[in-house]
Symmetry: C2
């Protein structure tokens, strides 16, 4: 039986639907990245670094929606695998700017391909106009939530 036991109210709940979509995306990305030996948070970290080299641990954590403690252990793993390098000591302040190694650049290039394929599947049923609209609507949701989420 493939009938999902969802109640009537839950089907009309925007939050539940959002969670469902995020969960489906997470599963698909996880499956797509597994052959490359990358988890979703690891991919997120590498993708952030590919676009903005030299981000600190805390900045990466905010960008990947995890705590800086989690990002720190994640970064240590990527460093151990030779995908990322960090200076042994901070040049200014306390931040340790991270950078991709050539191997890391190679890996993120492969990962981007499969992740792009997943995103294409996700928006396969949407035309260009609907995709733009969805982005606007999601942005409005984020803005509404963060409006009163201060401290």
């Amino acid at each position: 039986m493939d009938r999902v036991p969802a109640g009537i109210d839950l089907d009309s709940s925007l939050g539940y639907l959002l969670k469902q979509a995020a969960s489906a995306l997470r599963s698909s990305m996880d499956a797509a990245l597994r052959p490359l030996g990358l988890t979703v948070p690891q991919y997120a970290c590498l993708e952030l670094l590919a676009q903005r080299s030299g981000l600190s641990n805390s900045e990466l954590a905010r960008g990947a929606f995890v705590t800086r403690q989690s990002m720190n252990v994640l970064l240590q793993g990527l460093e151990r695998d030779g995908l990322v390098t960090r200076p042994a000591e901070p040049v200014a302040g306390r931040a340790l700017p991270a950078q991709l190694t050539p191997l890391g650049r190679e890996r993120i290039a492969e990962a981007s391909v499969v992740v792009r394929a997943v995103e294409a599947r996700m928006s396969a049923r949407l035309d260009a106009d609907q995709e733009v609209r969805l982005r606007e609507l999601l942005g409005a949701c984020v803005a509404g939530l963060e409006a009163s989420a201060s401290h």
Copy 2:
């Protein structure tokens, strides 16, 4: 040398925006439920049971987007706190249908209020028509992702 992003442009990535929205929702719900002594997965479990009493552990797990192992320990906690009851032995098959206790019903009623308030904040910037459209678009994304998801 022109600056060509090697990977996905995160600012225009639908997946990134979806993750951002889900993360903001999770944080807001977490903060709203904390005074009640409930985590988000616990709330999800109680909400599912409130709408469809007698769901089994596995059904609850699917509905809350976690593994049945995780849902099992979660249910044990709720049972220990007296919010949920399960028969000691299965009546048919192996499934153990869970039900809310009066205390559980009371707790989920309180939790529903604060969660509904969070959802209202999320859709505060959306009119009724936009909200319907967002539901449709998210549904299309889920359908697209699950179309080629190998179970």
